[in-house]
Symmetry: C2
Subunit: 358 residues, 2 copies
Amino acid sequence: MKDLFCEPFPSNSWLLPLDFPLTKQFDGFNQGNSRCYGKMLKDKAVNYSTNSVPSYVYLHVAHDYDAEDKLFFCDDDQSLLSKVPWLVMRTDNYFVPSLFLITAFEQELEKMFPEKATVFHYLGQYLFHPTNAVWGLITRYHQTYLAHADESLGVQVRVFDPRPGPFKHVMDQIRSCTLNQNLLPRVDVKASGFTSSKKNPKSTAILVTSLKLDYSDDLRSMYWEHPTSNGEVVGVYQPSHEEFQQTEKRMHNRKAWAEMYLLSLTDNLVTSAWSTFGYVAQGLGGMKPWILVKTENDTVPDPPCRLAMSMEPCFHAPPLYDCKEKRGTDTGAQVPHVKHCEDVSWGVKVIDPGHDEL
Amino acid sequence: MKDLFCEPFPSNSWLLPLDFPLTKQFDGFNQGNSRCYGKMLKDKAVNYSTNSVPSYVYLHVAHDYDAEDKLFFCDDDQSLLSKVPWLVMRTDNYFVPSLFLITAFEQELEKMFPEKATVFHYLGQYLFHPTNAVWGLITRYHQTYLAHADESLGVQVRVFDPRPGPFKHVMDQIRSCTLNQNLLPRVDVKASGFTSSKKNPKSTAILVTSLKLDYSDDLRSMYWEHPTSNGEVVGVYQPSHEEFQQTEKRMHNRKAWAEMYLLSLTDNLVTSAWSTFGYVAQGLGGMKPWILVKTENDTVPDPPCRLAMSMEPCFHAPPLYDCKEKRGTDTGAQVPHVKHCEDVSWGVKVIDPGHDEL
Ligand SMILES: Nc1nc2c(ncn2[C@@H]2O[C@H](COP(=O)(O)OP(=O)(O)O)[C@@H](O)[C@H]2O)c(=O)[nH]1
Ligand SMILES: Nc1nc2c(ncn2[C@@H]2O[C@H](COP(=O)(O)OP(=O)(O)O)[C@@H](O)[C@H]2O)c(=O)[nH]1
């Protein structure tokens, strides 16, 4: 954390002090732990009425949480948990959308975010400040490769496929999305000569982020091998190709964070379905991205990409439970500002109610 | 040829007419052919005195030519060959340096090239004009990636090694050559933050050409991960990474030719030992390159690179024969303007006599 983020709260720290008493127990906190709220519910160790509450409770709100863990999102449980002095939570999901379904939080959220679909945008800009090391990567890359272009387009490529790839249908999807939505000029495929370009034609810089090089290679050769039909100049840039996730390596994580930030600086953004990498970029940049929806059986979907309803990230593992009725429900249809995501059909995200459904 | 080069001679063609009578025999021309000059000498079928000469003779001047074939470079043989109406030559070597050792050509060469070490530079600029297809590749790449930099450095990387690579010692050699010779600014390895760069600092674009990406990747990350000590900005660009030679593919050859031409446009040039790819770039660009001399047992040589004595290419397979004395000789020591090459010790190249030997 210290290597990537600055302290967001002046003269304070968002990191636990080194002598924080519970730290030693963190490794033991999992769904089987007696202080895990879901476990306590299973063991009937929770008494909603009495005022005697434990000094700390572990909340398991990760993608593999079970029915009991999910009760975290119910009003009764929230009122009880609000009495517990310390809540230790482990999560790997952006569960904000489900907070909007808890009546107790409604007013508070209304006051904090009058425009509902700005939660991540504001929280992100308030909390996530790159350290000097990461800021150096951001500024050097931007100044060297992106600053001189008139316009920039971010293309965030993330392929969730066990096969090694590269995948032609993903290249085709990126091409048709960017061309169909006029995010990029068309090339004159028949021509290979050169058009005597105007003095200084409009220039676009495409920032591609991906673990592999194949997709930026494809775009770069397209614009190298053929002139654009309108004489515009298009350059393609990719900061790194780490080949695979290497989260244990410091520089790998710095580059990932720098690339998300660089994507957030672009004028337009194309992201990959399912990817939190893309969510962070759109959120920080305050942009509704064009999402390359997941392809089925290696074909380019039609349309190849969809404009996101809002700039909010998608909650991939929402609870589908109606606390009051105590039975399953479609949490994507309960309120007008929490809908199913464009890329993950069972996921939910916050949108601006005024937004007309696609 | 037609796909890569324009016709250099106005209202004329340097290509044989389609109905040229000998064309059908070209495939048969090899060192065993009865019309091969070397073979004729072996068969004692050459009579220096009489005036009856064959209508055509095949000259095998490729790297695998033998002692008899090499007699092409002797005055007596030249005077005889000058009477043969048609000479059909196959070669894969820049044999110009050995022409400078033939007395019959001395005056002519003196008149054509008063400054001796400009043969390829002038011939190249006169003969090699990229077709529109190649010109499109050159202009689009230059305009998109190289034109906005204040200065450009070409780095031509060619590794003749059966092992797959990449080779760290080659990366280290490139780094130390460019840094030691002040072709590139040093980076502040300890620092990883950022120096508040001056308004618009000097920018350098490095054009790397190579079949692999590893070497430009190394340079790019060096300048991405650390600030330069003088605040300068350095971008690294590589037009293609074809992975292996694919001479049968049209676009591959177009890109190779475009990249040689792009290298010739840079302000300074670093080339790889032994490589004709580099020779063409330095010749067309009229530049004396810094040559990355061949490494022994995977170590960086000291010095890592040597400034070429002239911009001329090296003749890799010169004859080492004294025609008059009829015995072996060091053709790199016969005249002051034909010396052994910096990269291929047995090779010879034309230099300006005034040039002080390194
Ligand atoms: N540098 C870089 N790292 C990436 C990229 N895509 C994925 N990664 C790495 O893979 C990790 C997984 O991505 P994650 O954050 O889980 O987002 P998601 O997997 O796309 O939802 C990232 O944290 C990075 O370490 C990329 O385009 N560039
Ligand atoms: N596009 C491209 N092709 C290259 C490069 N290096 C070598 N090649 C290919 O490999 C061939 C062999 O190079 P050649 O012309 O024989 O020069 P040499 O082998 O370096 O002496 C070239 O004609 C190209 O087809 C490079 O940097 N870029």
